[in-house]
């Protein structure tokens, strides 16, 4: 195995590093001066973009690994193996971002160890379920990624770490045998916590606009996570094709076929629920909330509709466009549930402050930075040689 020898210190590396530094500076401010000093959060809007984007939306955007694992291991007899590693790395980074952001957002972060103390568990809490699931999933993702790291050492020709190579050679086949049980866990856990991310806002009751407030939030969030996950794979795969000069991965077109079914199911539940609760007219009343609803729905439905046409599916450009529409629309939906549709009472409003943006931006930049370095150092990307042969 030849080592990946792409240059690491590229111009984009420095840009990302700049944003990372600014972001971490703002995080520093938050810890010294309090959350109120850097954010526009208030007692009416206790959750802002750190939760709505970094956690609720970020983890959905990180569902590539989850969505692809369903296709590969459950539906399709292990066929699209080449794509899974980069998807898992993205998932790991996305979920790590969520973890980081939570530690920035938590007011009493030093008490966060409570989650590891069964005596303090409060099993009625939806957030408890989400937190435990997400932490467990991070561990599972790391284990799923381990083979890629181990391969690096198994095939290492560098004589400097002979012990590492020996260990890697020993662990690798053992891990390979039990990996399937972690992979399945890696499908079960996101199914649980992605639906629960929807359940989180049920308790907000009428503080969340009736267009979004429904008992079906868990199932809507679950399906939403799936089609966002697939769209992210398409997005990512297309982008890295361009960035690394790799051929357009044809599996993407097959994945693109699944998305319209999911989206259709989602839209049917969405509209049936609005009709059943008598809020279809609210959704189409033309006010601010209605416009937000229409925007997200049009993006999601539009993106999915394009993918139902073979003509669009065969074109890398249009597949990319519809993937972006689905990602944006799907994320918009999550923003609506967490911020846009949230109205605690008269007199409260929220728009993120500049430092809030910078913290989120910094964490995302940090995430991409880590991803770039990792894929250049370890065999994450589909092996082109093997890829061509099996294709």
């Amino acid at each position: 195995m030849a080592l990946h020898r792409e240059k690491i210190l590229t111009p984009s590396f420095w840009v990302l590093l700049t944003f990372t530094v600014i972001g971490f500076y703002c995080i520093g401010l938050r810890y010294v001066m309090g959350i109120g000093a850097v954010s526009n959060l208030s007692d009416g809007f206790p959750w802002g973009i750190w939760i709505a984007y970094d956690v609720a939306t970020g983890t959905a955007l990180a569902c590539g690994g989850y969505a692809l694992a369903i296709v590969i291991y459950i539906m399709n007899g292990w066929k699209y193996h080449p794509l899974i590693r980069s998807a898992i790395v993205t998932s790991l980074f996305g979920y790590a971002l969520a973890g980081f952001s939570v530690m920035v957002d938590l007011g009493r972060y030093w008490n966060a160890y409570s989650f590891f103390m069964p005596s303090r568990w409060q099993v009625n809490s939806v957030m408890f379920e989400v937190a435990v699931c997400v932490m467990a999933y991070n561990v599972v993702l790391a284990i799923e990624l381990l083979p890629a790291i181990l391969e690096r050492f198994v095939h290492s020709t560098n004589p400097r770490f002979p012990k590492l190579k020996e260990y890697a050679r020993k662990i690798y086949p053992k891990l390979d045998k039990v990996l399937i049980f972690f992979i399945v866990l890696g499908i079960t856990l996101p199914t649980m916590h992605q639906s629960s991310l929807g359940s989180m806002m049920i308790i907000a009751g009428s503080k969340l606009n009736p267009i979004w407030q429904t008992g079906f939030l868990p199932v809507l969030f679950l399906i939403n996570a799936m089609y966002i996950g697939y769209s992210v794979i398409i997005f990512e795969s297309t982008l890295s094709s361009v960035a690394f000069g790799r051929p357009f991965e044809k599996e993407v077109r097959i994945i693109a076929k699944v998305v319209p079914y999911l989206t259709a199911a989602w839209l049917i539940i969405r509209f049936a629920d609005l009709y059943y609760r008598g809020h279809l007219s609210t959704a189409f009343s033309g006010d601010y909330y209605s416009k937000m609803f229409l925007a997200e729905t049009l993006l999601i439905a539009g993106g999915a509709y394009m993918l139902t046409w073979k003509h669009f599916r065969m074109s890398p450009r249009w597949v990319f466009v519809s993937a972006v529409m689905l990602c944006v629309g799907g994320s918009w939906y999550r923003f609506s549930v967490y911020i846009i549709g949230f109205n605690p009472d008269k007199g409260w409003s929220y728009f993120p402050s500049l430092p809030e943006f910078f913290i989120t931006l910094g964490l995302v930049a940090f995430e991409i930075l880590g991803y770039m370095v990792l894929v250049k150092m370890f065999p994450i990307m589909p092996n082109l040689e093997g890829h061509k042969k099996s294709a």
Partner: protein, 310 residues
């Protein structure tokens, strides 16, 4: 192949979705919420309140709260809170409509019978006393996630936003202070007109109904807190409509109960997640066998070859 994939996909989606989708339907048939016989609370009668704010001062004094100076008070001499915040657990506000038509109103924690904040808290920092129903907070457990603030239908829990080591602040009926020492919350103890009184919920509710019956012209017909979000232990009667007094019109069902029902339906006995795991493991292992030879370890083999070629 694609046809099979699609069919199996729909099967899977149906399986994982069914449990979650069925939850809200199942959750509707939940038992009604009733207050404990021993539950205590307060009755506030807005028609008796003279706006002296003795309750605000006393609450701050007893619970050791900071003053909240008015914006223009350069000398910071006066405690003049405009609303509930991390320095103010209890406040008197004035509603005024044109000439002569006005009413005072007191705001603090409503001590819901089925509190959303308690249900939301992931680490049980927000708790409810089993017998007396008092909702209180333990800062030593709290992680500061503020889910209680998101969950509370009355927007009561407040957060110390300007502090580096903040906590949540809300009325706990003087559980650790005045109630413990003197058997009555500070605000009820000092109220000169008995506009706010302390007692068992049953008694307070009966008293409220008696006052409404004796003086129907003076009061609104509604007792706020009797049914809202499943009922609260702090209840209100007033001459002004409650929406004018800053109360939201709320559903009678408890959001906390609804949320818990959905969550418990999905996770009852942990059967559904385990079943999902079992099903997925079965399919995945079957698929691996079917795919033998092209299965796992595939990449490694290739990369070995790849390496030797180089």
């Amino acid at each position: 192949m694609m046809k099979k994939t699609r069919r199996e996909f729909i099967k899977l989606a149906a399986l994982s979705g069914a449990g979650i989708a069925a939850a809200p339907l199942a959750a509707e048939a939940s038992a009604p919420i009733t207050a404990n016989e021993e539950a205590v609370g307060m009755l506030y009668d807005a028609t008796l309140c003279v706006g002296c704010k003795a309750c605000v001062a006393s609450c701050k004094n007893v619970n050791d709260m900071d003053a909240a100076p008015a914006p223009n008070d350069a000398d910071r001499l006066w405690d003049a809170p405009e609303d509930l915040d991390y320095r103010t657990r209890n406040i008197i506000k004035l509603y005024k409509d044109g000439e002569g038509d006005f009413s005072y109103v007191k705001h603090q924690c409503m001590h819901c019978i089925k509190p959303s904040c308690v249900s939301a808290c992931p680490v049980a920092a927000m708790q409810q006393e089993k017998d007396r129903g008092i909702v209180f907070y333990d800062k030593d457990i709290c992680i500061g996630c503020r889910y209680c603030q998101v969950a509370c239908p009355f927007n009561i829990p407040k957060f110390e936003w300007p502090k580096a080591f903040p906590k949540i602040v809300k009325c706990d009926l003087c559980k650790f202070t005045n109630l413990k020492d003197k058997g009555i919350p500070a605000c009820c103890e000092v109220c000169p007109t008995k506009a706010v009184i302390y007692g068992k919920r049953d008694f307070l509710l009966a008293e409220a109904k008696k006052r409404l019956a004796e003086n129907p012209g003076k009061y609104q017909k509604e007792i706020y807190g009797e049914f809202e979000v499943g009922g609260t232990n702090v209840i209100y009667i007033a001459g002004e409509s409650f929406s004018n007094l800053g109360f939201r019109e709320l559903e009678f069902d408890s959001n906390a109960a609804f949320s818990e029902n959905i969550q418990h339906t999905i996770y009852k006995g942990f059967v559904a997640p385990v079943a999902l795991y079992g099903f997925l493991a079965f399919v995945a292992i079957k698929n691996r066998k079917n795919h033998h030879g092209h299965g796992h370890g595939h990449d490694a083999k290739h990369e070995d070859k790849h390496g030797s070629e180089k």
